[in-house]
């Protein structure tokens, strides 16, 4: 395994564009903050634009033009936002676990930063998933909450997101915080199959998955298509927010490095 570039690469040497040779070199090409900011600066407006465009199509489709369900009535419209939040909560956590593995194994400084910026957004979408699920559950099940396996495992997922966000910020040494957060994220990944298969393994009030195979879904196309468009729109919005937060974090790290360098120069002059 290659030695990782010094962690200050993300802070103090924005102009250095050389990546380490050998294995992991392609991964470390993007550890250079200057290159990362240049590349993502080009991607970011497209990501934001496409998220807004897809949501501008998907949300009116879901809220106005899709038909009410014969059993659920108008409440079915909540599912067009609840299901994408659930997918993002789980998919985002899988991304956090992968990013954490990259940060632990290859000591990739941008993976650390991305994970740090991902967890508050992940906590937010998981909270939205729980809240919208609750708002759907009250008229459909007659209760805001039940301690069934699906709901409880998603609540555990929410605490894992919150725990990660708090843990990486709890240390004076950011590298140590990132390492502890990465370990928590990897251990917490055990919860993902529990969330996914909880409706099959246990007898739950929550219904089983309606969309296991796209070629044979249990949903009518009038519901399936707006759901997929909303899911795509929210995924793009989620990615845009995480990318923008990571860009801001890279710049803030560079600011701290420049301020430290200025303080050192002032010390040596005195």
């Amino acid at each position: 395994m290659d030695t990782a570039p010094p962690n200050t690469a993300a802070a103090a040497a924005p102009g250095r564009d050389r990546a380490p040779a050998g294995r992991g070199a392609s991964l470390h090409r993007f550890a250079n903050p200057g290159r990362f900011l240049r590349l993502t600066g080009r991607i970011q407006p497209w990501l934001v634009g496409s998220a807004l465009l897809v949501l501008a199509i998907g949300l009116p489709w879901a809220l106005v033009f899709s038909p009410p369900d014969w059993q659920q009535g108008e409440t079915v419209r909540i599912l067009y936002i609840h299901v994408p939040m659930a997918w993002l909560a789980m998919g985002g956590y899988a991304g956090l676990a992968i990013g954490s593995a990259i940060a632990l194994v290859w000591r990739h400084p941008l993976a650390d930063l991305a994970c740090r910026e991902l967890s508050p957004v992940g906590a937010m979408v998981t909270a939205l998933c729980l809240a919208t699920g609750s708002l759907w559950g009250k008229p459909m099940w007659g209760t805001w909450w039940v301690w069934d396996a699906r709901l409880t495992s998603v609540l555990v997922l929410f605490f894992l997101w919150l725990g990660h966000a708090a843990l990486v910020r709890a240390f004076d040494d950011p590298e140590r915080g990132a390492r502890m957060g990465a370990i928590l994220a990897l251990i917490g990944a055990v919860n993902l199959p529990i969330v996914k298969y909880s409706v099959d393994w246990w007898n739950t009030l929550h219904q089983p998955a309606s969309l296991t195979r796209l070629n044979a879904p249990a949903l009518h196309v009038d519901i399936l298509y707006p759901l997929l468009v909303c899911a795509l729109g929210f995924t793009l919005a989620f990615a845009a927010v995480v990318l923008a937060r990571t860009r801001a974090a890279v710049m803030e790290r560079r600011i701290r490095a420049l301020q430290m360098a200025a303080a050192r120069r002032a010390d040596t002059r005195e």
Partner: protein, 51 residues
Amino acid sequence: MTVHWAHVTASYALVLGGFLALGLGTALRHAAAKRKLLVLDPRTRRGKSVP
């Protein structure tokens, strides 16, 4: 407004409000970092803009 529609409205308001708050907070943080970097970074003062 029926109870069903009230729940639908509350759900959409929560999700859109949540994403709007996240986006706005991120944009403000991004703009502040960019502004500070323009002041501190000698390369940007020489005419290279922050990407």
